[in-house]
Symmetry: C2
Amino acid sequence: MTEQKEFLYPLKWLSKASAGDRVTSELRMRIISGMTESGSILSENKLAADFNVSRSPIREALKILASEKIIRLERMGAVVIGLTEKEYAEIYDVRLLIESFVFEQLVSLDTKDLVMELSKILEMMEIAIKYQDADEFSYQDVLFHETIIRAINHSYIMMIWDNLKPVMESLILLSMRSRFKEKYEDFSRIINNHQLYIDAIKTKDRDLMVKSLHQNFDDVQEKVEDLWRSQLMLSKGGEQQND
Amino acid sequence: MTEQKEFLYPLKWLSKASAGDRVTSELRMRIISGMTESGSILSENKLAADFNVSRSPIREALKILASEKIIRLERMGAVVIGLTEKEYAEIYDVRLLIESFVFEQLVSLDTKDLVMELSKILEMMEIAIKYQDADEFSYQDVLFHETIIRAINHSYIMMIWDNLKPVMESLILLSMRSRFKEKYEDFSRIINNHQLYIDAIKTKDRDLMVKSLHQNFDDVQEKVEDLWRSQLMLSKGGEQQND
DNA sequence: ATTATAATACTTGTATACAAGTACACTTGA
DNA sequence: TCAAGTGTACTTGTATACAAGTATTATAAT
């Protein structure tokens, strides 16, 4: 009986969240990090016991995760799908698809306010780097992209983002946490890429946008394996592991 | 107290469905048809009473409809959004976005089996026309597009389709039902457009694909207003209305 | 040993109960 | 007349109970 006391998802982001939301976020992190292995079968009752809640919030969580395609609901139990290389490539596709679409729309809009907002977020990201706050950095990073997408006020593009965002958020969180430990020097490049993105929006330069978009995505998805292992090292702070 | 005895969603499609699914489908139809007006507020308890089920399936339905952006969950009650011209245009955008993407992928795949499958579906559609079965025609029409999308085996494009499909299905159902009554001659053109689409896939002709795609969408979205009114006329079979 | 049948331990979907929170109307006091 | 508080009737989220269905295992018969 391994008692689960540690949580991967930032607890402070869940202050006003329901039990259902908490379970959803935490379960998603465990699946995406690889802590909960692909192929394993989740039982509503077991999860309810693990998380010390009733089946209601668990059912809610499973429905959401199924719509995000990281689990698959079957007659008996939910099968964990997780993210393989194929899914990473697919997420890349969809991000490129929607952000390109958004950019095309932005070209015919006044982007002054947006650029201002993005600059603010970028400065927040720099502060987060300065204080080595990976979670805050991730939050601002996700917010950066969401702000761009939200700018075109398109509810069905937003629908796509709503489904993609939680997975992106988890990926970025895990990726950034390990980088703060291992590849701190990455961040100046990440900041620079985001600045390029802002410039592309400001000057409405399509080529620059596509270039910075690709670089942005690569920054998150370049190192996608062993996220759970690196997460483990992170939380144990280099302790020896006895098993 | 208007007792609700009539259902817009085809009951035979719900034979093995749960109460939650039934409520979801029927509520969606009522919203999209305009029978349940935009701006009105849905109460879980009222809906539970209306549909003679408990709150559990109602909650499930509201969550799904919110993810489809046709209602908005607030602190108290769910606000009906429905589909205005803006949303129609947005759905058009997203369909174009994903189906274009799918076509690009298909170009580098063997589409022989797919073309065969689509031809079969097209023949089914012709039979449905012959016997004036609007619901069966709609079913095959949705299946036609889903089959194309499914062919590239892309789980995150599928995720988008999963969210869009129910709304499309409702729109097509309502649109086709009124056409079978009013504009029967439309169907030869619709069949022709679908045949063009198949040809585009067979010959991998991008221009032809975009052309037939646009025509296909226009066929559904050209006449989008007063769906509920025409639905009413359909069900009353031309009776006089006293109220 | 193999197959058929029955018991079991699960599963899902639904109903219902309840706690905590929120909007709104209705007093009550000035 | 208006402001402040109070009560009522909602709301949501969660827990729990139960019916019906399904896989698995054990038991019995051949």
